[in-house]
């Protein structure tokens, strides 16, 4: 199967950018990352259909010369799904904004409670440490980052 090299390069770039964005703590950037990754995957699905041909409309071109119509149908479905998910993510990000006035992923409080119990010397072995969730980073880091961002913007 042959496919377009340009498309592959674009896909690779989009994946790189998408993964970079998804790893951010800012939720809006995570959403953007999801969108970029979604588009990269859609392009990947399109390129899985083989070389480009004529439009897949009956009567316009002989059948062997047409592009694969199936991948286009798949991508349409995938785009619709990504749109729905993006809308939901946007609404939930808006909700966190109205609740907390912040756009960051917050710490896992249950992890902190387990850690607090450990610190207070309850008989919990080390290998029972809860390994889920994110590290509790200090708030000062965030504050510094935010003031830096604000300073850059003004």
């Amino acid at each position: 199967m042959s496919t377009s090299l340009l498309l592959l390069v674009v896909i690779a770039l989009l994946y790189t950018a998408g993964i970079y964005l998804v790893l951010d703590r800012s939720l809006t950037r995570v959403l953007l990352g999801v969108l970029v990754l979604g588009n990269a995957t859609n392009l990947l699905v399109i390129s899985a259909g083989g070389p480009f041909g004529a439009a897949a409309l009956v009567g316009r071109a002989p059948e062997p010369a047409m592009s694969d119509a199936l991948v286009q149908a798949l991508v349409l479905t995938a785009i619709v799904i990504t749109l729905g998910v993006a809308a939901f993510l946007l609404s939930i990000i808006h909700r966190t904004w109205t609740l907390d006035r912040e756009d960051d992923l917050t710490e896992d409080t249950e992890d902190r409670s387990v850690r607090r119990r450990l610190a207070s010397g309850e008989q919990v072995d080390e290998d029972e440490l809860d390994t889920t969730g994110c590290e509790a980073t200090s708030d000062t880091d965030d504050e510094r980052a935010r003031s830096a961002a604000a300073g850059g913007g003004s």
């Binding site: 799904i81 993510l89 609740l99 409080t109 249950e110 919990v124 440490l129 889920t132």
Partner: protein
């Protein structure tokens, strides 16, 4: 074609269609709660009946429907073989009982904070997605089924939009969106490699693909399904997101969502890549890690819902173990274990909801004396908890015994390691369950740690809300009121025993789930032969493939 088999085949799409139509009807009836409940219960009863019929129909071979009679690569195929129908019947029964539980909670709460008008339609959409995933004979349709159930689950998990649910929901949504993207990448790779997405066609064409490419595709698919099934390195999202949701939502999630992932892993391993030895070893190691680490996590927790979430992760390991063995006995035992685990785990989360109602909390630091306060609740907890721990003669023991036997038959070093791990996990689970029992149910109320300054002064949940960033006015009486409000629960059982009566419908639904779990034990003989045959058919592969091909050829001839 005889009339009985055409009846089976025409009923098959209804398991997806009915819940979707019911969801629409429930949305239209949003203003009329009673009618809405009648519709959703009616739809689910019908789906359970159809599923039971399908189990009987698929007993002598997989049933295939090509929707709209489009031939295989273009059209969508629905396949009901023994695995799908058993999963379908179990999950739909649990879904129905949990719906009754939710209705009971809604009526006894009388609580305007839960938007019931959204709950019922979304719940039915979730059901449709699950049914579609189980019956799909097409990889992309499986993806669509996943997306349908995930979209519904996003809404259900963040129901009410409270702070903790939104926080947990965010993790859940982002993780699942990413896993879906990985799945889509897998689909693109499969299509690029073999030019079809029909599962039966993929399985016959995959043999011609170079082994390296096969392995790459296989690993991409396994990563996607592993996230959804919460297999160890990919399981961290689950205990963070499930416990915050409403009790019936958590129950149905615990019962169904991870099991759809397990189902997909079973299909991938048996149908698409049956000869892959490398991933089998990877799955074995992952299963061992999932079991042991999940069980250790369960012991470390102090909240009952979180304990249950960790045991959920831990017991996914058992199913993966069976699948990784790839012998008829292993796969059959894994399917039996899935059936057992769907029921038991959903029951336990329902019981946790009842505990929250009676005790005002699910934190073991604040619960005591529940056995004396409510003996019925104690029995409802005890039976599934012991079942989960694998005490004979309950179904958990039978499933674990089957898996251990299959592991011993396999005889490799890894398999023996897993047998040891399985037994150890069983003990650890029992320990976690017994810890809940001793602390929350048996401990006399006056032995509650009176101090607990950090937990009692500020209250546990306000802390959870505040999450390190104190807001003005978020302390004292205001925060206590908020915690009660946000949990929809009565004030906590601290030093006095509250005479909270068990809500009748919720208790009945939970008792129904416990009874379903016991029924699996009583009917273990016939059920085990059924799952064993399903395992044999899956490993043999030919029944599935020839049924699908017969159907597509059939249609081409009639054209």
């Amino acid at each position: 074609m005889n009339p009985a088999s055409t009846l089976v085949e025409s009923l098959m799409p209804l398991t997806v269609l009915l819940p979707l139509l019911g969801a629409g009807a429930a949305l239209v009836l949003a203003g009329r709660p009673t009618l809405q409940r009648v519709v959703s219960v009616g739809v689910l009863v019908a789906v359970v009946a159809i599923s039971a019929f399908l189990v009987a129909g698929a007993a002598d071979g997989p049933r295939v429907v090509t929707l709209g009679s489009w031939p295989a690569p273009l059209g969508i195929t629905l396949v009901a073989d023994q695995l799908s129908t058993i999963m379908l019947l179990t999950s739909m029964t649990v879904t129905l009982l949990v719906l009754l539980y939710a209705i009971g909670q809604g009526t006894s709460d009388d609580d305007s904070r839960t938007p019931v008008s959204i709950f019922h339609p979304t719940y039915l959409v979730l059901t449709a997605g699950v049914a579609n995933a189980f019956l799909s004979g097409d990889l992309f349709n499986l993806y669509v089924g996943f997306e349908v159930l995930l979209m519904a689950s996003y809404v259900l998990l963040t129901l009410g939009g409270t702070r903790s649910r939104v926080r947990a929901g965010l993790t859940y949504v982002v993780v699942n969106v990413l896993s879906s993207l990985v799945f889509l990448i897998g689909i693109a790779l499969v299509y690029a490699a073999v030019g079809t997405l029909n599962l039966a066609q993929i399985s016959t064409r995959m043999a011609t693909v170079p082994p390296g490419v096969q392995l790459a595709i296989h690993l991409v698919l396994l990563t996607a399904f592993g996230i959804k099934a919460a297999v160890f390195p990919l399981s961290a999202w689950l205990p963070d997101s499930y416990p915050t949701a409403a009790a019936p939502v958590t129950a149905v999630f615990a019962g169904l969502l991870t099991k759809v992932g397990v189902y997909s892993i079973i299909r991938t391993q048996t149908l698409l890549f049956p000869d892959d030895v490398v991933t089998r070893d990877i799955l074995m190691v992952a299963a061992l890690a999932t079991m042991v680490i999940g069980a250790l996590g369960a012991i470390a927790q102090e909240d009952i819902k979180r304990v249950l979430s960790f045991t959920l992760v831990s017991h996914i390991g058992y199913m993966i173990f069976g699948v990784a063995l790839a012998t008829p006995a292993g796969v059959g035992a894994a399917i039996f274990y899935v059936v057992h685990h769907i029921t038991v785990q959903a029951t336990l989360f329902c019981v946790a909801g009842l505990v929250e109602r009676v005790g005002g909390s699910t934190s073991m630091t604040r619960l005591a004396g529940l056995a004396a306060a409510s003996p019925v609740l104690a029995v409802l907890y005890f039976v599934p908890a012991v079942n989960l721990g694998g005490i004979p003669p309950l179904s958990g023991f039978i499933g674990k015994l089957g898996l251990v036997e299959a592991g011993v038959q396999d005889g490799s070093v890894l398999a023996w390691l897993l047998v040891g791990g399985a037994v150890l996990t069983s003990l650890l689970t029992l320990y976690a369950m017994a810890k809940v029992w001793v602390l929350a149910f048996w401990r006399p109320v006056d032995q509650l740690p009176a101090g607990e300054p950090a937990d009692d002064d500020e209250g546990r949940y306000p802390q959870l809300i505040g999450s390190g960033r104190p807001r003005p006015g978020a302390s004292g009486a205001g925060s206590a009121a908020y915690s009660g409000d946000f949990l929809g629960a009565p004030s906590a059982l601290t030093s006095r025993r509250l005479p909270v009566a068990l809500p009748r419908v919720m208790t009945a639904a939970t008792a129904g789930l416990v009874a379903a779990g016991l029924a699996i034990t009583v009917l273990a003989g016939p059920l085990y032969t059924l799952t064993d045959r399903a395992g044999t058919d899956l490993v043999a592969r030919t029944p599935y493939i020839s049924a699908v091909f017969a159907q597509t050829v059939d249609h081409r001839v009639t054209r």
